[in-house]
Amino acid sequence: MRRYVARRVAALAATLLFVSLLVFLVIRILPGDPAALIMGIEGSREATERLRESMGLNRPLAVQYVDWLVHALRGDLGRSIQYDVPVGELILTRLPVTLPLALLAAAFMVAVAIPLGLYAATHHRRGGDYLAMIVSQLGISIPQFWSGLLLILFFSVTLGWVRSGGFDGWSAGVWAALRALLLPAVALGFFQAAVLVRATRSAVLDVLREDYVRTARAKGLRERVVVVKHTFRNALIPIVTVAGVQLGQLMAGAIVLESVFALPGLGRLALGAISARDLPVVQGVTLFVASSIVVINFAVDVAYGFLDPRIRYE
């Protein structure tokens, strides 16, 4: 197990290096000149030149990359041009919106998808199964931001139960904050739950066809034990794979839902930075989110090793 984890950690380091390189290259090479981009058309040539010098853009690219990477590893992602505060600090102030939103959506996703998927699989080709499949088929067809809009339309415009968006921060009380995050989390989680229901159902169906399940039934075990202990545990690998990929997608989806519900999270930070030509913030947020997704995928890989001993020894 230790060797397996060590190998995965080495792969993680290499992957993160590529992530940083990709973010750096897009910002530095493709457009040509970040200084000109920041100054815009109203900047004079001298001012642009001075900014370029102060940003260190006249040095060789490789030197700039290593310099940037070393700073990033120390948690220094540069300063925001728009707010004049460290980018790292900005990210930390916005994270308490995006992360709870993604986690709440993940909780909703698992709480809905796993029981529904299990139910559908154990009632294969019966009414409940078809109903679950129709609901999940609809779920994966509805864009998250549209279900968000529909939720606003129904709960705040028609019924007037909740505000159509906004977030007063956790200092305004945990209950108020959760209330503000509830609708976006449902909209975000519903789509992903629909995906996970299908994955759970087919994984459980696959295992239910195994000989050892027949054996377990033949020796008179109760159906509950057969399903939970013999089937579900063995179906976990494909389920965890899908759920792991989805955690990353939830981070990305949170960015969209923040816009629908006007939540001051990472996505709104990055979108605002784009219109303000605040490159360090865009760079910092993308690096942060992409690295988080890669780390989540790594955690899923390591989880396999624990769930299925065969994978460790490959």
């Binding site: 549209w146 990353g248 990305a252 629908v260 784009i274």
Partner: protein
């Protein structure tokens, strides 16, 4: 056998029908829309559905039905090109990685892992910071997000096929690497890739809508379903219908394509049928 009579397959037939309707709508909108989708009318802003405007009008008095029809073209174009980019780059990576093996394989796969950290929205954010937003940005960003899946799938089948007898025989007969990969390995790894492309298409359409909604993709006044929803959100209490029809168009399209993909998978892979 379902294999010989695909139209007996309910999901496939339903999917094919919906997809055909989508393509027909898009094609029709190129030559005919009830009203010019860009024509504004100050007197008829934000109307609900009526005889003259079955889907109502938007904040500029433009006909929503005509705009939804034209939006289908945007969705199809962006979707097709994005899947094309993802498939081409992913297959190239997967073929090289799987066939070469060794350190090249290791490096390419870490690159693929890294790309997996960039969902379409993230790449689009990054690109829009340096380029102006538009359809090109969304196509590329969505395409990049598909690369890992195509690369892994291709690599997997190359690894499996490389050791198969007919490939070993072709190599023994003096076939070069290019010939082996293009003539023997690639054609045999196509079926799962075709299924992957079909299932990626609806995902691309969802992503295009989301990017346009965020203002990172298709730009006004060009009609895109995501963009229309972004505009509709400001007028939810005045004309809720405006938010219903473009979203419904997305959902119906994606539903049809998902059915088509599911059906195709069942038909191409007898094991899951």
């Amino acid at each position: 056998m379902a294999r010989r009579r695909p139209f007996r397959h309910v999901t496939f037939t339903l999917g094919a029908g919906l997809t055909l309707a989508l393509v027909a709508t898009a094609a029709l909108s190129l030559v005919y829309t009830p009203v010019d989708p860009l024509a504004m009318s100050i007197t008829s802003r934000l109307q609900g559905p009526s005889g003259g405007h079955p889907f109502g009008t938007d904040q500029f008095g433009r006909d929503v039905l005509s705009r939804v029809m034209t939006g289908a073209v945007t969705s199809i174009a962006v979707g097709l090109i994005a899947v094309g980019i993802g498939a081409a780059v992913g297959m190239l990576l997967g073929l090289s990685s799987g066939y070469a093996g060794g350190w090249l394989d290791e490096i390419l796969m870490r690159l693929v892992d890294a790309v997996q950290g960039f969902p379409a929205i993230l790449s689009a954010l990054l690109f829009t910071a340096v380029f102006s937003p538009g359809m090109l940005v969304s196509m590329t960003a969505i395409g990049i997000a598909f690369v890992p899946a195509f690369a892994r799938l291709t690599r997997g089948s190359v690894l499996e096929l490389r050791e198969r007898e007919f490939v070993v025989a072709a190599r023994a007969l003096g076939g070069g690497a290019g010939r082996l990969v293009l003539r023997h390995i690639l054609p045999n790894s196509l079926p799962p890739l075709i299924v992957q492309a079909t299932t990626s298409f609806p995902v691309a359409i969802l992503a295009e809508a989301a990017l346009a909604y965020l203002g990172l993709g298709t730009q006004p006044p060009y009609p895109s379903w995501g963009l229309m929803l972004k505009e509709a959100q400001n007028f939810l209490s005045l004309n809720p219908w405006f938010a219903v029809f473009p979203g419904g168009a997305i959902a119906l399209t994606v539903l049809g394509l998902n059915f088509l993909g599911d059906g195709l998978r069942d038909l191409l892979d007898p094991k899951t049928a």
